[in-house]
C-alpha cells in the first residue's frame, strides 16, 4: 500500500477512525507519519487523520480550479487535506459541500458570529425579507408598494457594500 501523504513510499502506519458511523482510513509511510506527528498524538494528530481521509473523498469536479486570492489548487488540497486561504472556501465550494456533510453534524454554521459580521448578517436578513415582500407585491400587482420596497432594498445594499469596504480598509 502506498502512503496517502507523499504518494511515493510504502505505507507502514495504518490509522482508522470511526466518525458518526463512517470509517475513515489513512495509510502513511514512516517519515510522513513522523513528520505529521502521528506517533506522538499528544492531542493534535486527529486533525490530520480526518483531514487526509476527507481529501481522499473530495470530488474532483474541476481539477484545474484555482483560488484567485492565493493560487491554491484543488490538487494541492488533495495532497495536503488543507486549504490555502479563507478565499479558497469560496473557490472550492462545490467540491467541499458533500465532504462537509459527511464530516460534520450539519452543513451550515449555527455558532458564534463575530460582532462585525453580525451587522452584515442583519442587513442580509433584512434584504432577504424585503425581497420576499417585493415578490409578493409584484404577484399581487401592487406596483406602487413594489417600487417602494425596491428602493429600500437598494438602500440596504448600498449600506452592505459600505460595511464590506470599511472592513477591508480596517485591515
Amino acid at each position: 500500500m502506498i502512503c496517502d501523504s507523499c504518494k511515493q513510499a510504502d505505507a507502514t502506519v495504518y490509522l482508522a477512525k470511526i466518525v458518526d458511523g463512517k470509517l475513515l482510513k489513512v495509510n502513511l509511510c514512516e517519515p510522513c507519519a513522523k513528520q505529521k506527528g502521528v506517533e506522538d498524538a499528544a492531542g493534535f494528530a486527529e486533525d490530520l487523520l480526518i483531514g487526509l481521509g476527507a481529501a481522499e473523498e473530495m470530488k474532483v469536479e474541476a481539477p484545474g480550479a484555482q483560488c484567485a486570492v492565493c493560487g491554491f489548487t484543488q490538487a494541492d488540497f488533495k495532497k495536503t487535506g488543507r486549504l490555502g486561504c479563507s478565499a479558497c472556501w469560496d473557490a472550492f465550494e462545490a467540491g467541499l459541500g458533500s465532504l462537509l456533510k459527511a464530516m460534520h453534524k450539519g452543513d451550515h454554521h449555527v455558532g458564534k458570529v463575530p460582532a462585525k459580521a453580525m451587522h452584515t448578517l442583519a442587513l442580509n436578513g433584512k434584504i432577504h425579507e424585503l425581497s420576499e415582500q417585493l415578490e409578493k407585491a409584484v404577484r399581487e400587482e401592487k406596483y406602487e408598494d413594489a417600487a417602494q420596497i425596491r428602493d429600500e432594498i437598494r438602500e440596504l445594499e448600498t449600506k452592505l457594500k459600505k460595511a464590506a469596504s470599511v472592513a477591508r480598509a480596517a485591515e
Binding site: I18, A41, A42, F44, D47, H104, V113, A170
Partner: protein, 369 residues
C-alpha cells in the same frame, strides 16, 4: 516574562483542585481563527508568515488576560523549552517544530496559550484542572471576542469561521478532557468505552500514542465535529459523556475491589515498591506506575496530600522536564537515572501503602457544573 520564569513552577492545571479532578486530570478548549484573505500558515511564504506574526503577536500580548505573560517567536525558543511546553500541553508537537514566522503567547498561570501561525493563524486554548469545560469555554470565548475587535477574522455566514482544515470549519472549536481510567483498563472495559464514545462522534486517544492502551492509563476525549452545532451544545454533550465516563470508572473500581481486591493491592503495592526503589526508569514505565499510585491515592491507600505530588511527577518525569532539571545535556540512559532519582526522593515523603485495612471506596464525584 522570561521562559525560565514561566516554567519555574508547574502549570496551574496540574494542581488537581478542579471539580472531579480525581478522574478528569484537565479540560481544554481551543478555538481556531484566521485572518481574512491571507494565506494560511501552511501555504504562506516565509515573509507573509512573518508579516502576520508581527500583526497578531502584539495584539495577543496586549490582551488583559495576558497582563503577565511569556511571548516569543518560535525561533527564539530552545528545543528543550519547546518540548517542555509540549509536555505541559501548552503548544502542539507541530508547533514545536516551527521556527521563524511562528510565535506563542502564554499567560503566567499557564491557563491560556495562543499559538500564532500553527496550522491556522491563531490557535487559542484555555486549560484547567478537572472537568470544567463550560468555565473554560467562557474564558477562551472572551479572549476571542477581545481579539476580533482588532483582527479581521475570516468568517462566512454559511460556514462560520474559516480554517485551513475542513475538520475545524464552523466554530473552530475543539473541547477535550484528559481522563485517568486505570479501573477500566485493569478490568478490560476500556475498549468498549472507546467504541461507545466513538459512536457518539467523539474521539478517544491515548495521551502518548494511538491505540487504546494509553500510557499512564490517561486518555483524551474530544469532539470531532465543528459545523452545524452551537459551541455550548458541543460542550454540553462532551460534559455529559465525561460524567458518564466518570461513573463507569468509579463503578469499575468498586467492582475490582469487590471481586479482585488482591489484584488491585498487588498492582498498587508493586508500583510503590518499584518507584521508591528504582535507580533507572523510562518515562513510559514511570507513567504507568505513577498511574497506579494515583489510583492508590483515590482509594485512600495513600494520604490525599500525595495527589499533588503524583500529578506533578506525571509531568516532571517526562523527557524534556527531566532534561531541564539537569544542568547539562543528558543521554537517554542518564535521563532514566535522573528520573528514577527524582521520583525516589518524592516518594520518600509519602508513607508506605496502607493495605491492611480495606479502604473505603469513595469516588468523590461532585455534581455537574
Amino acid at each position: 516574562m522570561k521562559i525560565d520564569d514561566l516554567l519555574k513552577s508547574p502549570s496551574e492545571w496540574v494542581k488537581a483542585d478542579g471539580p472531579n479532578s480525581k478522574i478528569v486530570m484537565s479540560s481544554r478548549v481551543r478555538l481556531a481563527r484566521n485572518i481574512r484573505d491571507h494565506p494560511f500558515p501552511g501555504w504562506a511564504k516565509k515573509p507573509e508568515r512573518q508579516k502576520l506574526l508581527e500583526l497578531i503577536q502584539p495584539v495577543v500580548e496586549a490582551l488583559p488576560e495576558m497582563a503577565d505573560h511569556f511571548g516569543d517567536s518560535m525561533d527564539n525558543i530552545t528545543a528543550i523549552h519547546k518540548q517542555v511546553l509540549v509536555e505541559r500541553h501548552l503548544i502542539s508537537r507541530e508547533h514545536a517544530a516551527k521556527n521563524v514566522g511562528s510565535g506563542v503567547v502564554i499567560n503566567g498561570r499557564e491557563t491560556i496559550s495562543v499559538m500564532v501561525n500553527e496550522e491556522d493563524h491563531l490557535r487559542m486554548q484555555a486549560i484547567k484542572s478537572g472537568l470544567q469545560l463550560k468555565t473554560i469555554f467562557k474564558i477562551i470565548d472572551r479572549v476571542d471576542t477581545e481579539l476580533e475587535e482588532h483582527l479581521d477574522f475570516a468568517f462566512s455566514p454559511k460556514l462560520g469561521y474559516l480554517t485551513a482544515c475542513p475538520t475545524n470549519v464552523g466554530t473552530g472549536m475543539r473541547g477535550s478532557a484528559m481522563v485517568h481510567l486505570p479501573g477500566m483498563v485493569l478490568s478490560d472495559q476500556i475498549n468498549q468505552v472507546v467504541q461507545a464514545v466513538n459512536k457518539l462522534g467523539l474521539a478517544v486517544r491515548g495521551l502518548y500514542g494511538e491505540g487504546t492502551e494509553a500510557l499512564g492509563n490517561v486518555f483524551q476525549v474530544s469532539n470531532q465535529t465543528s459545523l452545524g452545532e452551537k459551541e455550548m451544545e458541543v460542550i454540553e454533550r462532551l460534559n455529559k459523556v465525561m460524567l458518564q465516563i466518570i461513573e463507569h470508572e468509579e463503578n469499575a473500581r468498586i467492582t475490582l475491589l469487590e471481586k479482585k481486591p488482591k489484584l488491585v493491592y498487588d498492582q498498587i503495592g508493586r508500583a510503590y515498591g518499584i518507584l521508591s526503589n528504582a535507580h533507572t526508569i523510562s518515562s513510559k514505565e514511570a507513567l504507568n506506575l505513577l498511574s497506579l499510585v494515583r489510583m492508590g491515592v483515590d482509594l485512600d491507600i495513600f494520604p490525599a496530600t500525595a495527589r499533588a505530588m503524583v500529578d506533578e511527577m506525571f509531568i516532571l518525569s517526562q523527557p524534556a522536564h527531566v532534561q531541564r532539571a539537569a544542568a547539562r545535556k543528558l543521554t537517554a540512559e542518564e535521563r532514566d537515572i535522573l528520573r528514577a532519582e527524582l521520583i525516589r526522593v518524592q516518594l520518600a515523603s509519602i508513607s508506605k501503602p496502607n493495605l491492611n485495612d480495606r479502604p473505603a471506596v469513595d469516588g468523590g464525584r461532585v455534581e455537574p457544573e
